[in-house]
């Protein structure tokens, strides 16, 4: 074996051009796959860095984030509950002692303002968790201690646990942090400990928590908008460590039964026919060794698609290198014939060729790791452009190294097997009579087959690239209904700076005044949620005079609390009635403006102006009067139709609610998060200007995020952009490899046929005849490749359909452009050898023979 290896090294050193080409090609092929696998491993396959993750189970199997009332999300259709209220958590925890223990974590990881002493407040990510979470996960503190149940009860001193990364990055690893007082939303907390390095929480996410707080501190932090004790608001994910030996299906059935029992006691769920839905309500217990799977569910299909595309690239790479190896093996026929004549069995020949191919692939794989590292960094930057403390590293982990090794090994075997098999069938008699006397070249057909394979796979990749790119363009260029030019969105946190219901309005007024006074400012808008930021608030609308909707009825509308200048700031006109004005304040008639989709859905007949509706209960159905209709724009769902949206004025609270939950929600909606700025010309220093203006109002007002409106909209397509760019990259790579492959084979065939061409020319063939002869060969291979590739591309399009937007599986543009690009490159790749063939000197060719 060592001898084979030594000989292989010598052989490869003898052909540095070949070796370098193969290694670089392999580095690209293996590197692309390893880069994608780095992502797949980090997101889809990784376990949480906790003790015995296989024992962890989550109650629930989908997202349904973040705060839901009634039957959350799709629960009315499927009966599948995945998000729970605190009261329901307590009930389930008591009903399922098999969880040792059952923990609760906040479904949404929210932004909070954090300040130590007189330092400038920082915007951080924080998560309310049950006191037993860290016990359930089995992690130990890096410093101090972690929560226990005693930290999570009424009256306990507010405690906070900080992540190692935040402690290191934001507080310079200051050891005095443990035990110190820190202000979260202006409320003092004691930092009791720091989590161990590498721990990133209960899920893989691009924005893991910087701090954790016990559930019982939620009312302390959020005051009158607290949701902890609201029975009908579901905002917690549940997970825990299941006692070994427990039957999961039986436990699932028991938890489901306990949940239904609790639901039957909840009037908000049993009312209006809800009781009829409860029997089908259930939970699904899912393994939670990898944590809450939200990101996995969002990105899983895209990642699998990328993995498939990169595997196609690797297949093309293998076909390409197998071709090069075949050509090389052919040139070594004499040597192999001698070896066989001397008694080398097939096994020996195959081993020798495979040693060379595996050696090449391992070196290529090692170089591929460098490509993979650079590629992973690029992919992470594309996929998570705004990530802070991303728990995904581009550095290859052990599983990634293992994957790269395995892929390299397999690749080596794959591209070496054909040449090895052909070599092992070398005719030993050629050692006697000489290879030039051989009349049959066994490698010509496999070479052509490999070119056909490359052409077919290239069409698939190219068509896929065009489809994903067109899909992205369709998404980006669609009519969102808003104007983004010279507009910016600033996210901030008034509550984090200590503002409350009492002084919100004065703050908002000051913000409007100060920002409006900035040079070049056209409009300033304030809103609880800005369009297309990825978050929104939905309510079930009840038209005046209509009965209460039943659970599952399509009554939902997105709604937002906005200032008078909001619609102008996003370039959306009123098409009927009026916009809000300064008279729309608390005490005046409650007014709303609605979009066209809202009118179409709820008031399809007659004039919507003057119509009334409400939410939550029939008794409130006359609460709001429609005073205007604005043109449709996309508030959250970019792929679907425009949903119904209604807007309520910022200065107008509805004081008619009697239920505590409704009052709390109404109060909560007054907490504005976004400032929308429209300038009348492009601005160069918006960041400085905006931050200075906000801090001029109050130094504790922190900017959570500031970006152009265009960039906020574009941020919705990060995953699509990643897929489009990578598939384009893979498509170009495939085209290049296929062209090189075709060129190599045609060059080889021309060299093999030099004497034949000489004879043809001696017999009167013109240069054009020769070019035509060679080109016909090249184009024939291309034609077969296209005949296989086009239907394959159509099939691939069907598989990708879910990832595409307004692009059909048999997209003619994609199929035609892929065919055209490949034909062009193939024609060029065939023409160069054809021209060389046409320049053969017949006399020279015949003398050579």
């Amino acid at each position: 074996m060592l001898k084979d290896l030594r000989y292989a090294v010598r052989q490869l050193r003898k052909s540095p051009g070949f070796t370098l080409t193969v290694i670089l090609t392999l580095a690209l092929g293996i590197g692309a796959n390893t880069a994608i696998f780095t992502l797949v491993q980090s997101i889809l396959l990784r376990s949480l860095p906790v003790v015995n993750p296989a024992q962890l189970y989550r109650i629930g199997d989908n997202d349904d984030c973040c705060v839901n009332g009634g039957f959350p999300g799709g629960a009315t259709d499927t009966g599948d509950m995945t998000i729970f209220s605190y009261d329901l958590y307590k009930h389930l925890r008591a009903s399922a002692p098999e969880f040792e223990p059952m923990a609760a974590v906040q479904a949404g990881i929210w932004d909070w303002s954090l300040r130590r002493g007189n330092e400038q407040a920082k915007s951080v990510k924080g998560e309310f968790v049950s006191g037993n979470l860290f016990q359930a996960l089995g992690i130990r503190p890096f410093a101090g201690r972690l929560f226990t149940d005693s930290d999570d009860r009424t009256g306990a001193a507010p405690a906070l646990v900080m992540s190692y990364k935040t402690w290191q990055g934001e507080y310079a690893s200051d050891p005095s942090i443990v035990g110190s007082t820190i202000y979260l939303q202006t409320k003092p907390f004691t930092v009791i400990g720091v989590t161990p390095p590498g721990f990133f929480g209960d899920r893989v996410t691009d924005s893991p928590p910087d701090v954790w707080m016990p559930l019982h501190t939620e009312p302390y932090v959020r005051g009158d908008i607290s949701i902890l004790h609201q029975h009908n608001l579901h905002w917690l994910y549940l997970l825990g460590r299941v006692r070994p030996g427990t039957s999961i299906p039986a436990l699932q059935a028991r938890v489901s039964a306990a949940m239904r029992q609790w639901m039957m006691t909840e009037p908000t769920l049993t009312a209006n026919g809800g009781a009829g839905l409860i029997p089908k309500m259930h939970v699904v217990l899912t393994p939670a060794g990898g944590g809450i799977q939200n990101l996995q569910q969002q990105t899983g299909k895209g990642l699998k698609l990328l993995m498939m595309l990169s595997l196609l690239v690797l297949l093309i790479t293998c076909a390409n290198i197998a071709n090069l190896m075949l050509v090389r093996t052919t040139t070594r026929r004499a040597e192999i014939a001698v070896r066989v004549a001397l008694g080398a069995g097939r096994r020996w020949i195959i081993r020798q060729i495979l040693t060379e191919s595996v050696l090449l692939s391992l070196v290529g794989g090692a170089m591929g790791l460098v490509v993979a590292f650079a590629g992973s960094q690029m992919i992470l930057a594309l996929a998570f452009p705004d990530a802070r403390n991303l728990p995904i590293s581009a550095s290859p982990s052990l599983p990634v190294l293992g994957f790269a090794f395995l892929v390299s090994l397999l690749t080596g075997v794959l591209f070496g097997l054909g040449p090895a098999w052909l070599s092992s069938h070398a005719q030993p008699a050629e050692a006697l009579r000489g290879v030039n006397r051989a009349t049959h070249d066994r490698s010509a057909l496999p070479q052509k087959v490999l070119v056909v394979l490359q052409a077919a796979l290239s069409v698939v990749l190219l068509a896929g690239a065009v489809m994903t790119t067109r899909s992205l363009m369709n998404l980006e260029k669609q009519n969102f209904g808003v104007v983004t030019a010279d507009r910016y969105v600033l996210h901030f946190d008034p509550a984090g700076a200590g503002y409350t219901q009492e002084n919100f309005q004065s703050l908002y007024r000051e913000i409007e005044q100060r920002f409006s006074a900035l040079p070049g400012m056209e409009h300033v808008g304030l809103a609880t949620y800005s369009p297309l930021e990825g978050d929104n608030w939905g309510e079930c609308v009840i038209q005046q005079g209509h009965p209460a909707p039943r659970p599952g009825d399509d009554c939902f509308s997105t709604w937002d609390r906005v200032s008078t200048g909001f619609l102008d700031s996003i370039g959306v006109p009123i098409v009927q009635g009026r916009n809000f004005n300064e008279q729309d304040v608390t005490g005046a008639p409650q007014v709303v403006v609605v979009n066209q989709a809202f009118v179409k859905r709820f008031f399809p007949k007659g004039n919507p102006i003057g119509q009334h509706f409400g939410i939550d209960d029939v008794k409130y159905s006359g609460a709001f009067e429609i005073v205007g209709v604005f043109r449709d724009f996309k508030m959250n769902d970019l792929r679907g139709e425009v949903h119904p949206v209604y807007l309520r004025p910022l200065r107008q609270m509805f004081t008619g609610y009697t239920d505590a939950n409704d009052i709390s929600a109404e109060s909560s909606s007054m907490n504005v998060n976004a400032i929308l700025l429209e300038f009348n010309r492009p601005q160069a220093n918006v960041d400085t200007l905006a931050r200075r203006t906000l801090q001029g109002i109050n130094p504790n007002l922190t900017v959570r995020d500031l970006r152009s409106f265009g960039s906020q909209v574009a941020g919705n397509f990060d995953q699509e952009r990643l897929i489009a760019r990578l598939s384009a990259l893979f498509g170009v790579l495939a085209l290049l490899l296929a062209s090189v492959g075709l060129y190599g084979v045609m060059s080889y065939l021309v060299a093999q046929r030099t004497s034949e061409i000489g004879i043809r020319m001696a017999l009167g063939a013109t240069r054009t005849n020769v070019v035509r002869l060679v080109m016909a060969g090249a184009l024939a291979q291309l034609a077969v490749g296209l005949a296989i590739g086009i239907p394959a591309a159509w099939l691939a399009g069907r598989l990708m359909a879910e990832q595409l937007y307004n692009v059909s599986a048999a997209d003619p543009v994609a199929l035609v452009s892929a065919t055209a690009a490949l034909t062009l490159c193939a024609a060029l790749a065939g023409f160069l050898p054809a021209r060389r063939a046409a320049s053969v000197d017949p006399m020279q060719a015949l003398r050579t023979e």
């Binding site: 001898k3 000989y7 010598r10 052989q11 003898k14 004499a334 040597e335 001698v338 070896r339 066989v340 004549a341 001397l342 008694g343 080398a344 069995g345 097939r346 096994r347 020996w348 005719q427 030993p428 008699a429 050692a431 006697l432 009579r433 000489g434 009349t439």
Partner: protein
């Protein structure tokens, strides 16, 4: 009488190309005894090399029988033929067929590396002995390109000898050499024969053919006597 090493009976080889059948061997009968030195001669295309290929198990006959060491070998599998070639047959080719990337030592060792279970020390010992036998022991570390044609052919002889084969098959061993080097190689073969080696050599040089113990003449794929060969050749030329 020494024992029979090779016995072929009514051996035929037909090459099929498109619609043409070429009878390269048309019923050859031949016996070679152990320790014998046989030269095969005949005009171009008479089937010498084809016969040597079949004798060396490089090719298979279309018909007839072939006994090597009293065992039929005409219908063996590829692997079995490889094993016998490796252990029983030593080849000396006209164009030497040394592998340029291997040193002299590695070239000679090559057939031994295909022999499973032979320890490295044993291989090295045999290589050294074989090279010393052909007076090339001082060139072990050299590469073929660093040797003259005559030296390369001596290395090829050493490679053929290293495996201690039952028979040496030489295909025009002097064909690519000048007369001086050709003579030297022929002397070497004669010496090997004197030491007991069985040799079967294809040559169309009558001087070298006469150095063998026995001459076998081939014409149109058949073994003929010297008188017949002369007559047939004259008829063809006439």
């Amino acid at each position: 009488m020494s024992e029979t090493l090779i016995e072929i009976d009514d051996l035929k080889k037909v090459f099929y190309t498109d619609e043409v059948e070429t009878h390269a061997l048309a019923g050859v009968h031949l016996t070679i005894r152990r320790g014998e030195y046989v030269a095969m001669s005949g005009p171009s295309g008479c089937g010498k090399s084809t016969l040597l290929s079949i004798l060396g198990l490089l090719d298979t006959p279309t018909g007839g029988r072939y006994l090597l060491n009293e065992k039929p070998v005409e219908n063996l599998s590829f692997g079995e033929r490889s094993r016998i070639r490796n252990q029983e047959i030593g080849f000396i080719f006209q164009s030497f067929n040394l592998i340029g990337d291997l040193s002299v030592e590695e070239n000679v060792e090559l057939p031994l590396t295909y022999r499973a279970g032979m320890p490295s020390a044993e291989r090295k010992k045999r290589v050294k002995e074989a090279l010393e036998r052909v007076n090339m022991g001082h060139r072990m570390r050299h590469y073929p390109a660093q040797l003259s044609g005559g030296q390369q052919q001596r290395v090829a002889v050493a490679r053929a000898l290293a495996g201690s084969p039952s028979i040496l098959l030489a295909d025009e061993p002097t064909g690519n050499l000048d007369s001086k080097n050709g003579e030297a190689v022929m002397h070497l073969l004669a010496d090997l024969h004197k030491e007991g080696s069985t040799i079967c050599m294809v040559t169309h040089d009558s001087r070298f053919a006469r150095q063998a113990q026995r001459e076998v003449h081939l014409f149109d794929g058949k073994v003929v006597s010297e008188t017949e060969l002369k007559k047939l050749t004259e008829e063809q030329e006439g």
